[in-house]
């Protein structure tokens, strides 16, 4: 069962149905891990990987072409940069507000609120970059194996 046998996979009814049922829940779980990272295990990195795995599963079952219709190349490529820029941008914002780089205390009037906001934004940046990186790498590999 290699990734190049996409046409073979497309005929597997059980795989198609089960993955269609599972994918929304994988995406939901990814979002939960992203936004709940402050309170329980998880965070941007894990959330990005889980979120990307939904798209990878979709690509495994339905093919790279279909997946590219759902997430075009420009989305994942710009997402790669957007995540990093969001993270670094928070740092630059704290610099402009008169604090050290990535010292979130300056982001709000209350230092605790600032920390919360900073961590939220930074984790979001990590999540976006990791998710887009995983999708990009997988599609680069799988798209090449196609005949």
């Amino acid at each position: 069962m290699s990734l190049s046998d996409i046409r073979f996979m497309r005929r597997k009814v059980v795989l198609r149905v089960v993955s269609k049922i599972l994918i929304p829940f994988i995406l939901l779980f990814g979002l939960y891990v992203q936004w709940h990272g402050d309170f329980g295990p998880g965070g941007g990195f894990q959330a990005g990987v889980i979120f990307a795995s939904a798209f990878i599963l979709y690509a495994l079952i339905f093919g790279v072409e279909q997946t590219r219709r759902a997430v075009p190349a420009w989305v994942t490529r710009s997402g790669l940069a957007v995540g990093v820029l969001l993270y670094a941008g928070v740092g630059v914002a704290t610099l402009l507000l008169g604090e050290n780089f990535l010292n979130y205390n300056a982001l709000a009037s209350d230092p605790i609120q600032g920390q919360h906001l900073g961590i939220l934004l930074v984790e979001l940046g990590v999540g976006i970059t990791v998710c887009c990186a995983m999708i990009t790498i997988f599609i680069a590999f799988a798209g090449r194996g196609r005949s």
């Binding site: 290699s2 891990v33 990272g37 402050d38 295990p41 990987v49 920390q115 590999f141």
Partner: protein, 167 residues
């Protein structure tokens, strides 16, 4: 026992990662276990399967003359590694150097300074924000590298010489 089928090797690596994640859970490092399960057992297994689809599923047979030096080398390396662990502090030792540096400060002050329940997140995203920024850049660079090496290969071949492109 020797496995030449690379497909089994990849699956075994994934199983190894999953067991590693289970060990992290036993050691109460849930965040690390989470990452190991998602990345080690999940995505990297799929990526290695993708690599197998591009290359071949069987390892090439190598000459058996190299077995003895290889065995010797791994034995010596293993012995050196075990020797290195001899003067490591005991597991869970409170006086280990790693527990005396910045860790107590993070654990004590995180509740007042950052006020989020998960100290791991507050260390990762706030106290150690520089490191995490660096890690994000590493992932960004990895994706850029993959794109630069194989990302556009198919398209160029399609516009250039046709036929016999992918096997």
């Amino acid at each position: 026992m020797r496995i030449r089928n690379l497909f089994s090797v990849v699956i075994l690596t994934g199983v190894f990662s999953l067991l590693g994640a289970a060990i992290y859970v036993i050691m109460d490092a849930v965040d690390v276990a989470f990452t190991e399960a998602a990345v080690g057992a999940g995505v990297s297994t799929v990526l290695m399967l993708g690599t197998l689809a591009l290359t071949t599923r069987e390892e090439k047979a190598s000459s058996s003359r190299r077995v003895l030096p290889a065995a010797l080398l791994s034995l010596v390396t293993g012995a050196i590694l075990i020797y290195g662990t001899l003067d490591m502090p005991d597991y869970g030792d409170g006086r280990a150097p790693i527990h005396l540096h910045v860790a107590p400060r993070y654990l004590n002050d995180s509740a007042q300074e950052i006020d989020i329940p998960n100290v791991v997140t507050s260390v990762l995203a706030s106290y150690r924000g520089y490191d995490t920024l660096g890690e994000t850049f590493v992932i960004f660079t990895a994706a850029m590298g993959v794109l630069a090496i194989i990302g556009r290969g198919r398209r160029r071949r399609k516009s250039g010489t046709t036929g016999e492109a992918d096997k």
